[in-house]
Amino acid sequence: MSESFAWTPLLVAGAAAAVGRGTPIALAALGEGISEKSGVMNLGVEGMMLVGALTGFVVQVHTGNPALAILGAGLAAAMLSSVHAALVLLCDANQIVSGFALTILGTGLSGFFGRPYVGVKLIGPEQIPLPVLRRIPYLGEILFQQDIFVYLTLVLTAGAWFLLYRTRFGLNIRAVGEDPEPAFAQGVPVRRTRFIAILIGGFLAGVGGAHLSVANTQVWAERMTSGQGWIAIGLVIVARWRPIPCLITAWVFGAMLVIHPYLQGSGIEVSPYLIGMIPYIAAVGALVVVTVLHRRSGHGMPASLARQLNLPE
C-alpha cells in the first residue's frame, strides 16, 4: 500500500518535468502554426531553434537575465526566418526547399559561432512559484512552479488564439492563408501579412530553442535540438492548426522525452535508444490518425498552404 502512495508525487514531478521539456516544442509549434495559418510553411524550425538556442545561451551566460535571453534568441531566429520570408515572398521560391535551406543554414551558423561555448555551464532561470495559483492541488505543482519561459508560453498560447480569432490582423492572417488572391483584391496586404507571420514564427521558434539550452540542458551542444523542430512541425498538423491543442500535445511529447529516467527508476530496463524512438514514432502515428479521421474536412489545413502566390504585379 505504501508503494502506491509514493506514485502520486512521482507522477506530479514527472508531469512538471514534461511541461518543462515540452515547452520548446510548444513554442516552436505555436510559431509554425501562425506562419502556416498565413499560408507559409516553414521547414526551417529546426535551424531557427538552434540559432535561438545558441543566442539565448550566450546572452544568459553574459547577462544572467532570462528576459534578455528570450529577447535575443527570438530576434536572432526572426532574422534567420526573414531569409525564408525573402526567398518565399519576393522570389516565389518553393517553400519546402527554402525552409530546408534555413535548417541547414541555422545548423551551420549555430555550430560555427557556438564553438567557444561548448562545455560552458550557465546558471539557468530560477523557478518562480506563482502566488495563489501554486496552491491548486496537483496543477499548481505541475504548471505554476516553473520558470519564466513556461509562463510566457501559457500567455503566448492564449495570445495567439486571441490574435488569430479576435483581431483584425488575425483575420487577415487567416484570409491570406485560405485564399490570398481574393484577400488581395479586398485590399489586404498579402506579402506584408505573411512576412509578419513568418517573423512571429521565427521569434517563437528561437525562444523555444532558448528554453532548451538555457533551462533544460543548461549546456550548448551542436545540433542539440535533435529533431524537436521537425516534431513541432508535425504537431501543428496533429493540433489541426489550433493554438491551445498545440500546447497540450507539446506537453504530451515532453512527457515522452522525460520517460526514460522514470522507467529506469522503476526498475524497467529498456535501451535508451529504443525509448528515444517513441516521440518520432508517436508523431508518425498521430499524423496518420489525424489525417484519416479528418480526411473529408481537410483537417483544418489552411487552403493555400505552401502554394505559389498568383498576385497581380
Binding site: 551558423l109 518520432y280 508523431a283
Partner: protein
C-alpha cells in the same frame, strides 16, 4: 474541362524542360547558385574575421588541388550522388523524398546484417547478396512514407523526416546492444566486416564500387526517363496529375515505384559507407548525406546527368572543408553554412535567371 482538352494539354507538356529556348546554357543556373553562395559565404567569413579569398582558395585547393584531395572528393561524392538520385527519381514524379538519411542508415543496417550473419560463408557471392538485400531494404524503408501517402494521403515529408531519426536511433540501438562487438573496448561498434563483404576499391584508395553504381544508375535513370514510355508517363504524372488520372494512369503506382527506386539508391550509399569507409556498423556514419542529396538534386534541377558533376562539386566542398579544419582551424560546421548558402543560391538563381531572360527578350524586341 473535358477529358479531351485535358489530354490535349498533356500532349503539350514540354517533354524536355532543359531544352527550353534560352540564351543561357543549362549549367548557368547551378554555377550562378554557387557564385551567390561564395559571395554570401565571404560576407560571413568577414564577420568571423577571416580572409575570404584565402579561405575559398584553401577550400578549392583542398578539394581539387592535390591527388589526395581529388581522391577524397570522389570518396565523398559517392554517397552524395546516390542520395541525390534518391531525391531526383521521386521528384521527377512530383514527390518529395526527404527520407534519404533514414534510407541510408537502414541500408547500412541491412548490409551489416548480411555481413555479420553470413561472414565469409557466401564467398564471392557475399557482395551481390549484400547489394540485393540493401536495395530491397532501402526500398522497403522508403515505402513506409510512400504507402502512407499513396493510401492515406499522410504528409510524406514529415513522415520521412521522423523515420530518419528512427533509423539513426535503430543503428545506435544495434551497436550499443545486440550487435555490439565485445572486443571493441567499449566503443559502440559492430564486429568488423569480413573481407568478402568489403566493396572493391580502386588502387588501395577509398574510392569504391559505389561510385560506379552511382554513375551507372544515373545513366540508367536518364535513359529510362528520356527514352522510354515509362519515363514519359512519369513526366506526365508530374506535369499534370489531374490529366494523368483522366487518361487512366494510376498515380499511386508511379508514386510507389519512384519512391522505392529512390530509397534503394540512398540505401546503397549506406552500404558503401559501412562496408568501405568505416568497415563496420557504427553511429555517425553520415554527416547528413541524405539531406545534402536533397540539395544536390535541386541544384541539378533533378536532371540525372547533371547530378554527377553536382555531386562531385559538393563532395569537393566536404573534402575541402576537411582541409580547412586541419589547416585553418575552422569548425566542422563551416561546411553546413556553405551548403545552406548553396541552397539559398539555388533558390535565388531561378528569379535572377528569369529576370535576365526577360531583359534579354525586351532588348531583342527593341
Amino acid at each position: 474541362m473535358s477529358p479531351v482538352t485535358l489530354f490535349y494539354r498533356v500532349e503539350m507538356v514540354d517533354v524536355d524542360s532543359s531544352r527550353r529556348g534560352t540564351w543561357l546554357p543549362s549549367f548557368a543556373g547551378p554555377l550562378g547558385a554557387l557564385a551567390i553562395a561564395a559571395i554570401l559565404f565571404s560576407v560571413i567569413l568577414v564577420i568571423a574575421g577571416r580572409s575570404p579569398s584565402a579561405t575559398l582558395w584553401a577550400l578549392f585547393n583542398g578539394a581539387f588541388g592535390t591527388k589526395f584531395g581529388i581522391r577524397e572528393t570522389l570518396t565523398r561524392c559517392t554517397p552524395l550522388m546516390l542520395c541525390a538520385l534518391a531525391v531526383a527519381v521521386p521528384a521527377r514524379a512530383g514527390i518529395f523524398n526527404i527520407g534519404g538519411e533514414g534510407q541510408l542508415h537502414f541500408g547500412a543496417i541491412a548490409s551489416a546484417a548480411v555481413a555479420l550473419h553470413f561472414g565469409s560463408g557466401l564467398g564471392s557471392m557475399t557482395i551481390p547478396v549484400m547489394v540485393l538485400t540493401v536495395l530491397v531494404a532501402g526500398a522497403a524503408w522508403s515505402l513506409i512514407p510512400g504507402l502512407l501517402k499513396a493510401v492515406l494521403n499522410v504528409n510524406e515529408v514529415l513522415v520521412a523526416l521522423m523515420l530518419n531519426y528512427v533509423a539513426i536511433l535503430l543503428v545506435e540501438y544495434l551497436v550499443h546492444g545486440p550487435w555490439k562487438d565485445p572486443s571493441a573496448l567499449g566503443w559502440p561498434y559492430s564486429a568488423p566486416f569480413p573481407k568478402a563483404a568489403v566493396l572493391p576499391t580502386w588502387q588501395g584508395t577509398n574510392v569504391h564500387l559505389g561510385l560506379l553504381f552511382g554513375v551507372v544508375a544515373a545513366g540508367c535513370f536518364w535513359f529510362v526517363m528520356a527514352r522510354t514510355t515509362f519515363g514519359f508517363s512519369v513526366k506526365v504524372v508530374e506535369a499534370n496529375p489531374v490529366a494523368a488520372r483522366y487518361v487512366g494512369m494510376r498515380l499511386q503506382s508511379y508514386l510507389l515505384i519512384t519512391m522505392a527506386l529512390g530509397g534503394a539508391m540512398a540505401a546503397l550509399a549506406g552500404l558503401g559507407e559501412v562496408s568501405v569507409i568505416q568497415g563496420r556498423l557504427r553511429p555517425d556514419i553520415s554527416p547528413g548525406y541524405g539531406y545534402i542529396g536533397f540539395l544536390i538534386s535541386w541544384l541539378a534541377g533533378h536532371r540525372f546527368l547533371i547530378i554527377i558533376p553536382a555531386a562531385i562539386l559538393i563532395g569537393g566542398l566536404y573534402s575541402g572543408s576537411d582541409e580547412l579544419q586541419l589547416a585553418a582551424g575552422l569548425p566542422s560546421a563551416t561546411v553546413d553554412i556553405l551548403l545552406g548558402l548553396v541552397f539559398v543560391g539555388v533558390l535565388l538563381s531561378g528569379p535572377i535567371r528569369r529576370w535576365l531572360e526577360l531583359r534579354q527578350r525586351s532588348l531583342e524586341i527593341e
